[in-house]
Amino acid sequence: MTIPFLEVDTLTMRFGGLTAVDALSFRVEHGEIHGLIGPNGAGKTTTFNMISGFYTPTEGSIRLRGEEISGLKMFEVARRGVVRTFQHSTLFAELTVLENALVGTHMPFRPNIFAAIVGWDTEDRRGAHARAMESLDFFGIAHLAGERAGDLSHGHQRALGMAVAMAAHPDVILLDEPFTGMNPEETNRMMELMRRLRESGVTILLVEHDMHAVMGLCDTITVMNFGRLLTEGTAQEVRHHPDVIAAYLGGTRHVA
Amino acid sequence: MIELLAQTGLNALYAAAYMSLVAVGLVLIFGVMGVINFAHGELFMMGAYTVVALYTDFQMPYVLVVGLAVMFVGALGIFMEWSMFRPLRDNPLGGLVASIGFLMILQAAVSMGFGVRMEHVPPVTQEVIEFSDRVRLPVQRLVVILAAVVLLAALWAFLKKTRFGWALRASAQDREAAALQGISIRQTAQIAMFIGAGLAGVAGALTAPLISVNPHMGHSVIIAAFIVIIVGGIGSLEGAVIAAVIYAFVHTFVTTFYDGVVADIVGLSLMLLVLVVKPTGLFGTADRA
């Protein structure tokens, strides 16, 4: 029996009396794009926050290559190779685009204060710089390196958010509603980038409530409703599943 | 021993009375304007110096002087709101620095006007209620206690029963929502500033005959008030009163049985403990960092 790559096992989160996520289990295979979807209030974002270490689950466990990562702090989860992005455009708005990406290189090129003072870290700085530029280039924003991040257009800010995560050399990228507020053209471009990310060996887990966006992209889709697992499968399987149709019709969104 | 405890208890009650007047004002100002008024101790001092100027020097009736102190210090509060806190609405650190600047101005003004030496305010009344040989309560202290109870009750009624009070509470909770409700933020801020400053002024005026009045007296008052508002929970008026009582009793008893410096250390440690364990304070729910 092989050890699953990323495994969520009977994960539960309660806020006071409210059970936001109720004994949720699913697995993410290495090298796939995995979608976690569901109507508003299904508990997707809570699950996402537990995996990334932002919340500590009430019960259950999250294992990466068999190692328990639930309850770790966010930076500890990140250091194990699971890096998240944030909803909206959470960036270092006051810093330049390049500096944003350089913060992303924190893990592969850990700064050392003594080396920095004496000047023995030239090699590392050069490496970090190259890594940051490579990541910016991957998302097509290398030409904006000198701009202030807060001045970028919305689409570019999204790309930068992913470039920061990418610069960290993650094994898994967690994307929180990456298509929100994007027009169809931007969405298509973003999907293309994600496929290229997958080809470079990065596993992607994304949370999205718009089913249409993820259908053509995800290898596996986990559908949640009211904090529980509704069903799981390929886009085709999920699309025609009666429970999914019911859940989405009951909500505000429609299945494409 | 019991007599000593009783006497210390009375002393603590008096300390709690004026401390809660000062702290409640500070909380009110913070609640409505989101700014820490570092000059609050100096407003207390201005109340005391109003007494020095009008009662000691001009021998006006004490009751009238206390009323004038409230008006004068309250007006200073309105001036601070107009000149500093309103323009610096979106800059809490700037508001804090401006209030420190104002503090220095008030201290310097008083030093120049009255000198830096301590002022002696002649007692308004020499009467003392004697419970026993060693348990005594000077009437002036009783006046402070009663005034605090009456003023705080009046403030409570004002906040709960009047439209202004409703507006103040609404703006303390959410300024934008309050503005949408048609509340004039400018007007509520001025009322809050007048009441907050006025309470500090009345506390200073009432305690002036009992303490040494000097230009730097605000310093220890503001530190105590900070401890009280943190322990009580920032933004909670009830919490401020309860914390003032707790702090006054702890501080007074430790001062009596050990010494004043240890009492200060205990008070500050209490505040640090609250900050570590429950930063919203013992009674606070609002989380405004």
Partner: protein, 334 residues
């Protein structure tokens, strides 16, 4: 072409100016100048602390820890003065490390108040315990810096000018180190922690460790500043490090502006000159705090970005956010 010439000559010119400066000043002004050097170190270290976004009200007490520590090490253990200064700085950093455990459970306003409480507790301990801190009267007859002779030069450190040169050299090295830190990836991480701590953490940054790092380094430099001061004036007491002194530091930083490295230093220099020299010369002895207070209010009202924003307008350049990202000078050539 002229501009690059200015760039090349700026540092040597500043050096010559600072070396020549005491010789055109009166004795009392020389004393103020020495103080100014200690305070520049203090306020620059304060900015390092604020890089991660936290404002402390305990920084002057931490400076005092360095002063008391250094004075006590010479007094009780006979440690030579320059060594004890470093030990004092180390003690300040160590105390900051201990304080960081309770304090960095707090953020923003709560940290501000918490740091104040922690600082006051330390200060009151000095006041309470006559052994070894000397109680309210503090420590007196602190060992001075021993005289040294280098070839033809001999330095008698009772002379303000000699001590000024000594302090200037020490502070210059410290400022250089702080500058290097800020322009390094570590400095970038400090900024990242300030602007978006969650995003920084998601990139694997141990946010609390970095906050602590900034706090501890800043405290070490503040402690050194205190030690420099203690061995100069020879007497310290708890009042030397009270909240009024802290207010001055806070004011220098805010009036100068904290967006740039030089902002707080500028604030410190300008306000000290204004307070100690201009107002004194003009004979406003008693009115000084009043004018000082007024300047504070007016500057936050009308110059919210500090004096540094005037300099930026004069020089005609923005704080250049890209400056941080410069890998190194060598990188440019590579």
């Amino acid at each position: 072409m002229p501009r690059s010439l200015i760039h090349v000559l700026a540092w040597p010119l500043l050096g010559v100016f600072l070396i020549a400066l005491p010789h055109v000043l009166s004795f009392s002004q020389q004393e103020i100048l020495a103080y100014l050097v200690f305070n520049v170190l203090l306020v620059a270290s304060y900015r390092l602390l604020t890089l991660t976004g936290e404002w402390s009200l305990g920084h002057v007490v931490i400076m005092g820890v360095g002063a008391y520590g250094s004075a006590l090490y010479t007094k009780h253990f006979g440690v030579p003065v320059p060594v004890s200064m470093l030990l004092g700085a180390g003690t300040a950093a160590l105390i900051a490390m201990v304080l960081s455990y309770p304090l960095f459970r707090m953020k923003g306003f709560y940290f501000l108040i918490g740091s104040f409480a922690a600082g006051e507790i330390i200060r009151l301990l000095w006041k309470r315990y006559r052994e070894p801190f000397g109680g309210p009267k503090g420590l007196k007859r602190i060992d001075p810096m021993p005289d040294i002779d280098i070839g033809i030069w001999s330095f008698d450190f009772f002379e303000p000018v000699s001590y000024y040169y000594f302090a200037l050299a020490v502070v210059a090295v410290c400022l250089w180190i702080m500058w290097r830190i800020e322009r390094s990836p570590v400095g970038l991480t400090f900024h990242a922690v300030h602007w978006q701590d969650n995003l920084a953490e998601s990139a694997g940054v141990n946010v609390r460790a970095y906050r602590t790092l900034a706090f501890v380094i800043a405290s070490g430099f503040a402690g050194l500043s205190g030690a420099l001061m203690a061995h100069y004036i020879g007497t310290i007491n708890p009042t030397s490090f009270d909240v009024e002194q802290m207010v001055f530091v806070l004011t220098w930083a805010i009036v100068g502006g904290t967006a740039t490295f030089y902002g707080p230093i500028l604030g410190c220099v300008v306000l000290t000159i204004l307070n100690e020299i201009v107002l004194r010369e003009m004979g406003f002895e008693q009115m000084r705090p009043m004018i000082y207070g007024l300047v504070m209010i007016l500057s936050v009202l009308f110059l919210p970005k500090g004096l540094e924003s005037i300099v930026q307008r004069l020089v005609g350049r923005k704080p250049a956010p890209g400056a941080l990202a410069e890998p190194t000078r060598m990188e440019d050539r590579a």
